[in-house]
């Protein structure tokens, strides 16, 4: 599989065109399936990132709570 060489002409010309890749399969997947897959994956990444963030923040808060509870004991001792 190879790409077309960048077209000659001005920088603007060659940067503004959608140009097909040669040698690729002529049949491509359905646009609907690709569109839905892209949206689902993008939102999954975002949700996963948010989930990890909140989980780590909860762990930090829990540990801070433990330290705060331990402080009076230390000062008592």
């Amino acid at each position: 599989m190879k790409q077309d060489k960048p077209t000659a002409g001005t920088v603007e010309d060659r940067s503004q065109e959608f140009r097909p890749v040669t040698g690729a399969a002529t049949e491509t997947s359905s646009a609907e399936a690709l569109l839905i897959t892209a949206y689902v994956l993008m939102w999954a990444i975002l949700m996963g990132f948010l989930f990890l963030t909140f989980r780590r923040q909860a762990a930090v808060n829990k540990r801070l709570g433990e330290l705060e509870r331990a402080l009076p004991k230390q000062s008592d001792a």
Binding site: Q16, E17, F18, P20, L34, L35
Partner: protein, 236 residues
């Protein structure tokens, strides 16, 4: 109030506006925005209304990483380090969104998921730098030397972004220039432009929220580490 700048009502309000904007944008993109021409991927071109703003958000987070890293190198503080770390983490997340959505559009428009086009290759390099930075921060310790190395790495990662942005103009390739295009990559319907602008607005809000959350988390972790150093017998 870890960062000293977190009015809770404002944060909740921004979350609400962001969620509503995304919801409205999805409806608008699917119900009102017309399909693009077949060379642009037809229906699959609607991926662009989130793909391009996600790439812009990556630039934004890379910029935050750059500023945080540069400020940390100039005068190290936990807060500056937290913003640098948050910038790299959010840039990696948005980079992931760009990297999964772009190839799915390319499969329809170009017939392949991936090609070693200058824009794609330089963007992949940039995202890998941010991912490496996140891995480094996670596993390489939290000493000043590690933080300084990470800051230098963060500056390097963001220095690649202008190359990513101008790669299409510099070297051509298959990737279209979306915003000012007259040819196959142009947005020829006003609704397309409106959707893209709304996408930029929503992604800006999302990036700001994620950056704030991650910077707050990184700052909390740094403070926790210092507190644990002062009270070692409470570990466990």
């Amino acid at each position: 109030m870890v960062l000293g700048m977190r009015p809770r009502g404002l944060i909740v309000g921004v979350w609400a506006v962001t969620a509503l904007t995304f919801f409205a944008l999805i409806l608008f993109v699917f119900l009102k925005v017309p399909e693009a021409q077949p060379q642009a991927g037809g229906l699959a071109q609607k991926i662009f209304y989130f793909h391009v703003p996600a790439a812009y958000a990556l630039y934004l987070c890379g910029g935050v990483c750059f500023v945080g890293s540069a400020l940390y190198l100039a005068n190290p503080t936990d807060l500056r380090d937290a913003w640098a770390k948050a910038g790299a983490e959010c840039a990696s997340a948005f980079g992931g969104m760009v990297m999964v959505s772009g190839p799915l559009w390319a499969k329809k428009a170009w017939g392949v998921y991936w090609t070693w086009d200058p824009r794609l290759t330089s963007l992949l390099l940039s995202i890998l730098i941010y991912v490496a930075l996140v891995v480094l921060r996670r596993f390489a310790g939290t000493g000043d030397a590690e933080r300084r190395f990470a800051a230098a790495f963060g500056i390097l990662g963001t220095a690649v972004l202008p190359i990513v942005h101008y790669s299409v103009q510099l070297w051509g390739g298959n990737h279209p220039k979306v915003l000012k295009a007259n040819g196959g990559g142009g947005l020829q319907d006003p609704a397309m432009v409106q959707a893209l602008l709304a996408g930029f607005f929503a992604m800006t809000l999302l990036a700001a929220l994620l950056l704030t959350l991650r910077a707050q988390l990184a700052h909390s972790q740094a403070r926790l580490l210092r507190a644990e150093e002062l009270t070692p017998d409470t570990n466990g």
